[in-house]
Amino acid sequence: MRFKPTSLLVHLVLLGGGLIMAFPFYWMLATSLKSPQEALQAKPIWVPERMKPSNWLKAARLGDSPLWGGLAPGRSVELVFPGEKGRPPKAFIPRAPGAFFDPRADGTRVEVGYGEGAWRVRLTNTTGEAFRFLPLVVLWPKEAPLNPPLPPDAIRSQGEDWRLEWVNAVPGALGYLFHNYLEAWYAAPWGRYFFNSFFTALTQVAVGLLLAALAAFALARIPFPGKEAVFVLILATMMVPGEVLLIPNYVLLARLGWLDTYFALIVPWLASVFGIFLLRQFYLSLPQDLFDAARIDGAGYLTQLFRIALPLSLPGLVSYGIFTFLGAYNALLWPLIVTQSPEMRTVQLGLQAFVSEAGSDYGALMAASTFVILPVILGYFFAQRQFIQGIARSGLK
């Protein structure tokens, strides 16, 4: 292939635009791996400490398990600060603010000693319970060169000393990398949220698909009196914007006593005009001979639908499935209106609540955002072609 200067220009323009499009994703990922002090910098930090593999190795040495860390009862961990022997550093476990009894601060023995050219901070768990994380503060003399065993999550100036803070002194490699993710995950019942979202979306896809396939087949392949009228009615419902339906459907759900149940999340969206149209288009494009042959072999309408039309319209089904799943999984307005209790929240509502509660903990916030969009992104990478074609198909009339 011969080189064309214009193609370089094309690549430059596309790449520039693509980077702008992808930037928010990178920023989300980077922030989700930042400590609060790194996140709250006026000058942005492009590669946070937790993203660097060399730090993962350091973190793997701290804690019981190299992957997830932790400190079991009776076990101890040693943090090594190479340096000259001078004024000794101080180390302590910060108390949880407002806690009457804090097992971590009260039950951990902290020993600071010098040996073999390094200050050693030894933490021993004297309680009967295992710690998943253990915060630590070290006051390090300003005159001594600083060489910590793991980059601290925050460095502040405190009189004569540097105040080094770690959110977790026993992280393990993954516990270190995914600290914000773990924090975000344990802060809200995400398991429940994910179940709600998946259950809602998948039921909508499965039942909606069946109903749309039945109706589309009848409209495409069966001559029956009143077909035109039904078709016009379905067309007409496309003209009504979704906003109009909000209030009356809410009232209807309230009268049915379905508010704050799965019914409210699922049932109003089961019949999809888009799905009926899409599948009808597919069935119309199949050759009539196929159905005639089946008819001669004694196949009824249902057999024709399930044995011939449905398998042949698989791309249409996938397209509809992806569209419906995306719509249901990403929806905010409808779940916001029809659910109240935290048990019925979908992931989007959960994230929305988390955003308003997490305040300025941007690391945890971005971590939560990341795992909320992860299922869809993963789905996209596994079924890229189907995604693109499915979306493209929605534009064809």
Binding site: V244, R255, V273, N330, L365, Y380, G395
Partner: protein
């Protein structure tokens, strides 16, 4: 001899069961149900003329106590005795039986609510806590004098003016570049497409972080520390013209800075969708046209102005219509970026105002009036657009 229209009984039965449910929930007077049952009984009586077994259909009358019976009894009847029916009758039966499940859901959740919204809008402050008084078109009169409604409408106007052309232009450029047999097509497409499948809730969390007044990336990039993008109610035109000493007020001050920030995120979010649709449209244009044009010595611009633009116009028109309709339904972006509707309600949109009125102030009738006016506006605009713009659209390839 004419045969008994079993499909009519089936359809009437389906309507009857819906009617019984409606009556139970108080949407329909009981008398209508009795009339419906009477008509059903008459149909069955007429059926007796065609054979005594049609008496069995009378079982459907238990619909008064068990609503689905009116649909299920004719269905089962057809299954048991349908063997001897002619091809045409079978078609009619199957057609209606397959269409009804989806049709019933559409009637309940789309068609009925459309009329019910209008009905609700005729009352004075419906909130189901107390009986509401009929007030005719009073809600609409108040609405037309409501400054917040006009602000929401103005914002919708600016949303269309800003996002639709910008989005379409950018998407067309990207799509044309992607269509030049560029290498790494998949990578670029993924870059542009990912924002579209990302939930707006998660995306907005990132964008809020990018727009953050103190630690936001954008303020660092533009060297505008402290600029609070999402809480600046001043119009952008007013902001731009201020250094020139020109003062603009009201509508002509343009959308607020906060709303422009929301629009930027919306363009980012929807660009991938437009690119995919436009790319599909471009790929449908036969290559021969370009080859012929190249033989005639057409330049890059001429090719795209005289071939791409007219042949792509159906796709562009589709996306334009979609953008226009979508502008009236903008909710999620606004809710997640400015949950209170912005400072001085400067980011209010029609859907957001409807949500506020209905679900925050529990004034269902006023919210319904907003919904109906939106509906009419969309309907009117679509008709005008079809009349004026669609003439320029070239549907033949």
């Amino acid at each position: 001899m004419r045969t008994f229209p079993l499909h009519a009984v089936l359809s009437w039965g389906a309507l009857l069961s819906l009617g019984v449910y409606a009556a139970r929930l108080g949407f329909l007077p009981q008398a209508w149900v009795v009339v419906g049952l009477g008509l059903y009984a008459l149909l069955v009586l007429w059926g007796v003329r065609f054979g005594w077994r049609h008496v069995l259909l009378a079982l459907g009358l238990v619909a008064y106590w068990f609503p689905p019976a009116a649909f299920l009894v004719p269905l089962l009847f057809a299954l048991f005795f349908g063997r001897g029916l002619s091809e045409k009758e079978q078609g009619a039966l199957y057609g209606w039986a397959l269409v009804w499940p989806a049709l019933a859901l559409l009637l309940i959740w789309h068609v009925f609510p459309t009329f019910y919204a209008f009905y609700l809008s005729l009352f004075e402050r419906v909130n189901f806590l107390r009986p509401a008084a009929f007030s005719g078109l009073e809600n609409y009169r108040i609405l037309l004098q409501d400054p917040l409604f006009w602000r929401a409408l103005g914002n919708t106007f600016w949303y269309v003016v800003f996002t639709v052309p910008v989005g379409l232009l950018l998407a067309t450029v990207v799509a044309i570049l992607l269509n030049t047999q560029v290498a790494f097509l998949g990578l670029y497409r993924t870059l542009y497409f990912l924002p579209y499948i990302t939930a707006l809730t998660a995306a907005a969390a990132v964008w809020r972080w990018i727009y953050h007044p103190e630690f936001g990336f954008l303020n660092w990039l533009l060297r505008t520390p402290g600029l609070d993008w999402l809480n600046t109610p001043k119009g952008v035109f007013a902001l731009l013209l201020e250094p020139l000493g020109v003062q603009v007020q009201g509508f002509w001050a343009g959308p607020s800075l906060a709303f422009v920030a929301i629009m930027v995120m919306s363009v980012w979010h929807f660009l991938g969708y437009q690119v995919v649709i436009l790319l599909a449209g471009l790929q449908a244009i036969p290559k021969e046209y370009y080859e012929a044009a190249e033989l005639d010595g057409a330049s890059f611009w001429q090719k795209h102005r005289l071939i791409t633009w007219p042949l792509l116009s159906p796709t562009t028109f589709f996306l334009f219509t979609l953008g226009l309709i979508g502008a009236f339904q903008v909710f999620t972006q606004v809710y997640v970026l400015t949950p209170t509707g912005g400072v001085l309600q400067d980011t209010l949109t029609l859907a957001f105002y409807l949500y506020n009125k209905g679900f925050r102030d529990s004034d269902f009738s006023y919210a319904s009036a907003i919904a109906m006016v939106t509906f009419l506006l969309i309907l009117g605009l679509t008709l005008i657009q079809r009349r004026i713009l669609e003439r320029r659209v070239n549907y033949e390839i």
